[in-house]
Amino acid sequence: MAFHIIGYGCTPTPGFYNQIYDRMLEDLSRNEILRYSRHLSLPNVGMEGQLALKAAKVLIVGAGGLGAPLGLYLAAAGVGYLGVADFDVVDLSNLQRQVMFGTKDVGFPKLRAAKARLEDLNPDIEVMVHDARLTSDNALGIIAAYDIVVDGTDNFPTRYLINDASVLLGKPNVYGSIYRFEGQATVFALGDGPCYRCLYAQPPPPGVVPSCAEGGVLGVLPGIIGSIQANETIKLILGKGDTLKGRLLLLDALNMRFRELKIRRNPDCPICGDHPTIRHLIDYDEFCGVGKADATADVAVPEMTPKELDRKMKSGVQPLLLDVREPHEREICSLGGRLIPLSEIPTLAHELDGQREIVVYCRSGVRSASAVFYLRQAGFQKVWNLRGGILAWSDDVDPTVAKY
């Protein structure tokens, strides 16, 4: 069966569509014709578009809040070869937004649950799982096998890694990201369009931008943003309509307002500019300062385990407990003591009694390590980090303290 490829609404990388259309050899089965009947009768999709979807290879990086609608909608749409990369296990706290998983999946690898769910949704596609954290060593090899990469990750190092790999390989990168009630989406590295480094050349310092676990996130928000990413991915495969290339779409879900900002390729961009200086993948943890922060937490900050703290308190020594979480977290659960959010430590540290022993805690022990590091630098001698935070306290000392 032969097809005419007619005008595209966006400027693709030369060869991008050829790769997909060259693979369009198979016809649809009778079952597939029924399954995709609403697409087949849809202008701009039709039989040609559905066969393109079937021939397409899409990699979703991250099976989280964004990955859930991405996986479900791309599988349902009939993307023939769907890759999912993740290395995590389903946690009960994921189910508030990660609708690809069910309660029965809690405690099991995300990829196992995702593969079962997506193959149940559409047995006519192939689901490929990559059980690994994407790194500079494996990224090019994994992404090279796909036509499009979709960024559903939750951290800066992997976002820069996906960006650089997609630019180096000439693959479009369908980007989405969320924060509390706000989300954004665009298409990077498509033809003459911009890349993520054109938007943010440098990452923020580690620990300054809260994750979803620290800052919270409205459950439906990644559902909306991930669905927008799925929509853009499908349009890229079809070669129809205008994509978000060159437009950063912003959503404020609390006030339900969409805005878009024009973004151009930066000629001075170190990877997609006119004279690129980055020609191969780098160490993204180092680039984002993540390794350094961990080293600080592991080496330089004195720690106390929950059991050590418990013994100390039972022996009659009552150190000052310093909670560096946000006030809304304090409402969920607490170990008591003074509350000073991490961001206010520099301005309020002088109120603390430097002669007294201080044990600093937060949810998981990361923010409190930063606070201990700061207080030690500021001259406080008797300050310890509660290792593992409230989560570890709940596991090792008092299970009635809620984990969140």
Binding site: Y179, Q202, R259
Partner: protein, 81 residues
């Protein structure tokens, strides 16, 4: 001149508003907007965030000169997923 400023994510939270109007001198740039916002924000964390500016819905560099009535959107990176 009057400049309308739109704030997002962490800046919106630390300044307690999604929109503000600044009175600037003629010829001032988006960098001056950043300085004014940082002074208002007061939180040391926010000062270390990379900022990007869009004037009238188009991203510009920090030395972009503003004119009366411009609308400046100020973005910081977010990474959730």
């Amino acid at each position: 001149m009057k400049i309308e400023v739109l704030l997002f994510a962490q800046l919106r939270e630390s300044l307690g508003t999604s929109r503000t109007v600044l009175e600037l001198e003629e010829g001032q740039t988006v960098r001056d907007v950043a300085h004014r916002l940082m002074a208002q924000a007061g939180k040391p964390d926010v000062g270390s965030l990379p900022l990007r500016f869009a004037v009238n819905e188009e991203f510009v560099e920090e030395d972009h000169r503003l004119i009366d009535g411009d609308r400046v959107a100020v973005l910081t990176p977010v990474s959730g997923g």
